[in-house]
């Protein structure tokens, strides 16, 4: 990845396979955004690997003209860990969904983030199980009516970014499938060395249509979207409102734009990142963009380093290995035959 990769266009990153998502699915927009972003990343196709689990979004690798591995439900982080440890030079992307990453594969997602494997995790959150025809998911809101919850779901949903931050992720971001801000988030995720966690609000047009419309629809976007930029004030609603810290309650509050307390976004501030993730819906915008970005040493680099240190000065001598420990010589047959 160090040498300059060949100049490519979005088309070079698309495979010859026919894309088979439902018409209008948000996955198309994410696929396009990724294919458009790849030429800007200075990476080679042959060194890029997309690893996915199971679910609608997990078909993604088939549509990329890179190496790809469509694994089993929930296990993409584990497979990706093996790929990256075996060859740290590969650029690894994990494509997953809310059920895949947070329900059946929650454990692996947690440990991938905790270990800080250098990769990009794109979590397509549509708050529903699409491929199995519409059951509620671990991110579905209370009361979600689905074939498995005809009277409404009763369990509390998980916030993916809070889970990621709690698991020790060093890069947490949010984006919207059809929003023009997605490529920049992808670039930032790729630039971050370590596990980059990106939650993409993705519309399931068939089973959960418009579930994010209260903040993604054009008419609400201005008031309900807070796009974060490092070093810049947290402003929204056309620059008329801002986010400040309510010091007494140790919580965020909405203030007028000219309030001296409006926070300047510092992506290394973990506490504020957590508050941004947890901002309540009512009266608050949804924080988008790079919420947290504070690099730490990666898992694979630590493994490689330790392996090298442990091996240094030793020669791999098989004969010596089998001969280890105390041995004795049998000179000749002790009994006459």
């Amino acid at each position: 990845m160090n040498e300059m990769a060949k100049v490519t266009t979005a088309k070079d990153w698309a495979s010859d396979q026919e894309v088979r998502w439902c018409p209008g699915c948000g996955d198309y927009a994410v696929l396009k955004a990724v294919q458009r972003t790849m030429p800007d990343l200075n990476v080679a196709r042959e060194k890029t690997v997309f690893v996915s689990g199971i679910g609608c979004s997990s078909r993604f690798p088939y549509y990329m003209a890179t190496y790809g591995f469509h694994t089993i439900h929930g296990r993409a982080p584990a497979v990706a860990t093996g790929v990256k440890l075996a060859n740290p030079e590969l650029d690894v992307w994990i494509i997953t969904g809310d059920g895949d990453a947070l329900s059946i594969g929650g454990n692996h997602t947690m440990h991938l983030l905790r270990r800080n494997l250098d990769c990009q995790v794109l979590l397509f959150n549509n708050e529903i199980y699409g491929l199995t025809k519409g059951q509620y998911s671990p991110t579905s809101r209370i009361g979600t009516r689905s074939p498995s919850t005809p009277f409404g779901s009763v369990d509390r949903p998980l916030r993916p970014c809070a889970f990621a931050l709690g698991s020790g992720a060093r890069f947490v971001a949010r984006a919207i499938d059809v929003h023009k801000g997605l490529p920049d988030v992808l670039k930032a995720a790729h630039a971050h060395k370590g596990a980059s966690f990106v939650e993409i609000f993705q519309n399931c047009v068939v089973y959960n249509d418009d579930v994010f419309a209260p903040f993604t629809a054009r008419e609400f976007a201005g008031d309900k979207q807070l796009w974060l930029a490092a070093g810049e004030k947290m402003l929204f609603a056309g620059g008329t409102k801002g986010i400040a810290l309510d010091v007494e309650r140790l919580a965020l509050k909405v203030v007028e734009a000219d309030d001296p307390g409006v926070i300047v976004h510092d992506p290394k501030n973990r506490s504020i990142a957590h508050m941004l993730i947890e901002m309540p819906g009512e009266g608050f915008p949804v924080a988008l963009g790079v919420l947290y970005d504070d690099p730490a040493p990666t898992f694979e680099s630590a493994v490689v380093e330790q392996n090298a240190a442990a091996a240094s000065g030793k020669t791999p001598d098989l004969q010596a290995l089998v001969s280890k420990g105390q041995s004795w010589m049998v000179e000749k047959e002790p009994h006459k035959l």
Binding site: Y62, Y67, T71, V83
Partner: protein, 626 residues
């Protein structure tokens, strides 16, 4: 046992008074250091040139309440001047460090055998904990055996007094006192143990000296104290063995070294993904120290991640290996299907233990054969091989790597708790004598306008191994059914039929590169064949040998390649009049043989968590021929 030759000595062949063999069982509390004592006695036995087999038998609890019967840990060793194949049916000598150890182990002792008891531990409190109403050393309840008692605890305290240890620490030395006595009993050299103690306690020379003093005191006690006829010194001559350099090896060690050797012969770095589980963890521990051989060990968050990471590593061009025991293997099942579907090389080691569910974590069993051969969703064939002894695990590991890389397939390697922990002499292999089987990665891009064909086939139906990072060969693989050749998603009836047929034919074709089934003992067409697999080798071999010496027409067939089996196995089995299949399960291999070859194989089952005794198989042979 397997590597020490099974040549019959003149004396054996003429069934004269047998060559000497002794079974000693060290038993004490889990905290008494019996496994350590047994391990060092094993080393001394090996250095004396005796053939040997050991059986560590310990509880699942790390430190069960002191003095209780369920906290008893034992180590049994069978050694002699002849070929030793098992850890022995019945101990001749039992060393009991407390009442509970006596209670648990006395019944197994042969009539007339010797009990050495530490009477210092036979206190009212300890007797009550072991469930004795009265002190068995004082009544006639042990009359079937010879009993020698002395206060090992006090003698140890006296011996280590000059070193100023606390009472607790001082008493920890009593296993070395006991070992010293045992070394005297069998005329052994103390020096290797002294050397070992010095290196073990290099950072605490005081402890080393105390332990050495205890060892010497135990030895001196045997030499100087008149103990009557019960204990006398015996010298056991070295056993016949092929000339060469030997060491003792446990199955876990042999397996680790074999996997390393296999990876080196294939020219690959190894990725070992594992999650701790008894009795499989020692393999992870051994490999974690061998980084200079290009090994990455990964302790995963769970069994599933362990195999999935290994699959990812194989995809990226290393040799993926994962290891577990039955319950963990169950968790890996779905991922094994993925490895079959993506046709990547992978080794899955199952150190079997007693099941089902958590079962008997520290006890041995062979009850995961169905799981290995049949236990996946879909028609999901993969090769299965089984090691028969600790030393054999080395060769089986190399064989597993050979098959996995040559045929691009996951391979299950079955071993068990007994093999993993047991030790035997091992004639060191000459590594230059192994033919390498280097892997070739496919790296030639197709012509312009032609698609990449990750599922193209060679003559043996193996697909090419293409590493990510190779320019011009970008492709996608996955667990979903695919088109032959291109590997593109394809659910069509033709594609599924064709791919299922191909996967099956490829695995069955492995039989073309494995040797014909040999007969371990006896000849083709015998009246009775005793057919085994895995760790039952020892007891079956000895039982068949004894039956033959009594003139019975019986043969021993031991199968390493469980799936696919050697091409001649069916014909071979059909040539015997009768077949019995001793197994530490309820008849799994027996069923497989009946299914594959329509032979009237009869079961001999045992699921007590313990290996077969030779006598049990001998009795079954007699019954089958009656």
């Amino acid at each position: 046992m397997a590597s020490a030759t099974h040549l019959l000595t003149e004396r054996e062949a003429t069934a004269q008074p047998p060559v000497e063999a002794v079974v000693v069982r060290f038993a004490g509390d889990s905290g008494d250091g019996m496994q350590l004592t047994g391990g060092q006695f094993t080393l001394s036995t090996a250095l004396a040139g005796n053939d040997l087999a050991t059986f560590p038998d310990f509880p699942a609890e790390i430190r069960a309440p002191q003095g209780t019967t369920f906290g008893v840990s034992a180590f049994q060793i069978n050694f002699g001047s002849t070929a030793i194949d098992t850890a022995g049916d019945q101990p001749d000598v039992l060393i009991a460090m407390n009442p509970a150890a006596l209670k648990v182990n006395a019944e197994a002792l042969r009539d007339g055998g010797l009990i050495i008891a530490d009477e210092g531990e036979f206190t009212a409190r300890n007797l009550a904990k072991a469930g004795y109403d009265a002190n068995p050393l004082d009544d006639d309840s042990l009359a079937r055996w010879q009993v020698v008692r002395f206060n090992i605890s006090q003698l140890t305290l006296d011996a280590v007094k000059p070193f100023g240890l606390g009472n607790k620490e001082a008493l920890r030395c009593k296993n070395m006192w006991t070992l010293g006595l045992a070394l005297w009993m069998f005329d052994r050299d103390r020096q290797p143990i002294v050397d070992w103690l010095k290196s073990k306690f290099a950072k605490a020379p005081g402890l080393a000296e105390a332990n050495i003093a205890a060892l010497n005191a135990g030895h001196a006690y045997g030499e100087t104290v008149e103990m009557g006829a019960s204990i006398r010194q015996r010298h056991i001559e070295p056993a016949p063995a092929e000339p060469g350099l030997y060491r003792t090896v446990t199955g876990a060690e042999a397996l680790a070294v074999g996997l390393v050797a296999g990876a080196q012969l294939a020219g690959l770095n190894m990725f070992f993904g594992s999650y701790p589980i008894t009795p499989a963890s020692p393999l992870l521990h051994h490999l974690a120290r061998l980084k200079e051989f290009g090994i990455t060990t990964f302790q995963a968050e769970d069994e599933i991640a362990a195999i999935c990471a290994a699959i990812g590593a194989s995809y990226a061009g290393q040799l993926g290996v994962t290891s577990s025991s039955g319950p963990g293997i169950a968790l890996k099942t779905e991922a094994m299907g993925l490895a079959v579907m993506t046709e990547l090389p992978l080794i899955i080691v199952n150190s079997q233990r007693g099941g089902p569910s958590t079962g008997l974590p520290t006890k041995t069993e062979q009850s995961d054969l169905y799981q290995a051969v049949y236990g996946r969703n879909g028609d999901t064939p993969l090769p299965v091989i089984a090691a028969r002894s600790p030393a054999d695990a080395f060769d089986c590991a190399i064989e597993a790597v050979r098959i996995a890389t040559r045929y691009m397939t996951p391979v299950i390697l079955l071993t068990d708790g007994y093999i993993a922990n047991a030790a035997e002499p091992w004639k060191l292999p000459e590594m230059s004598g192994f033919a390498p089987f280097p892997v070739t990665f496919h790296d030639t891009p197709p012509a312009e306008g032609v698609g990449v064909m990750p599922y193209a086939r060679n003559d043996e139906l193996a697909r090419p191994w293409i590493k990510p990072g190779t320019p011009g060969l970008e492709h996608r693989i996955g667990g979903i059914e695919k088109a032959p050749g291109s590997g593109n998603i394809d659910y069509s009836p033709e594609a599924h039929q064709k791919m299922t047929d191909t996967r099956s034919a490829k695995v069955l074709g492995v039989a073309d590169s494995i040797p014909d089934q040999a007969i371990a003992l006896g000849s083709e067409g015998a009246k009775l064949a005793v057919v085994g697999w895995g760790s039952t080798f020892g007891p079956i071999h000895q039982a068949v040998r004894r039956a033959q010496l009594r003139g019975l027409d019986v043969a021993h067939v031991h199968v390493r390649h469980i799936w696919p089996a050697p091409r001649n196995l069916g014909t071979l089995l059909q040539g015997f009049e009768r077949i019995i299949v001793p197994e530490l399960n309820m008849g799994q291999f027996k069923t497989l043989l009946r299914d594959q070859y329509l032979v009237d194989a009869r079961p001999l089952n045992k699921v007590s968590g313990l290996p077969f005794r030779i006598a049990e198989i001998e009795a079954a042979i007699e019954e089958a021929l009656a």
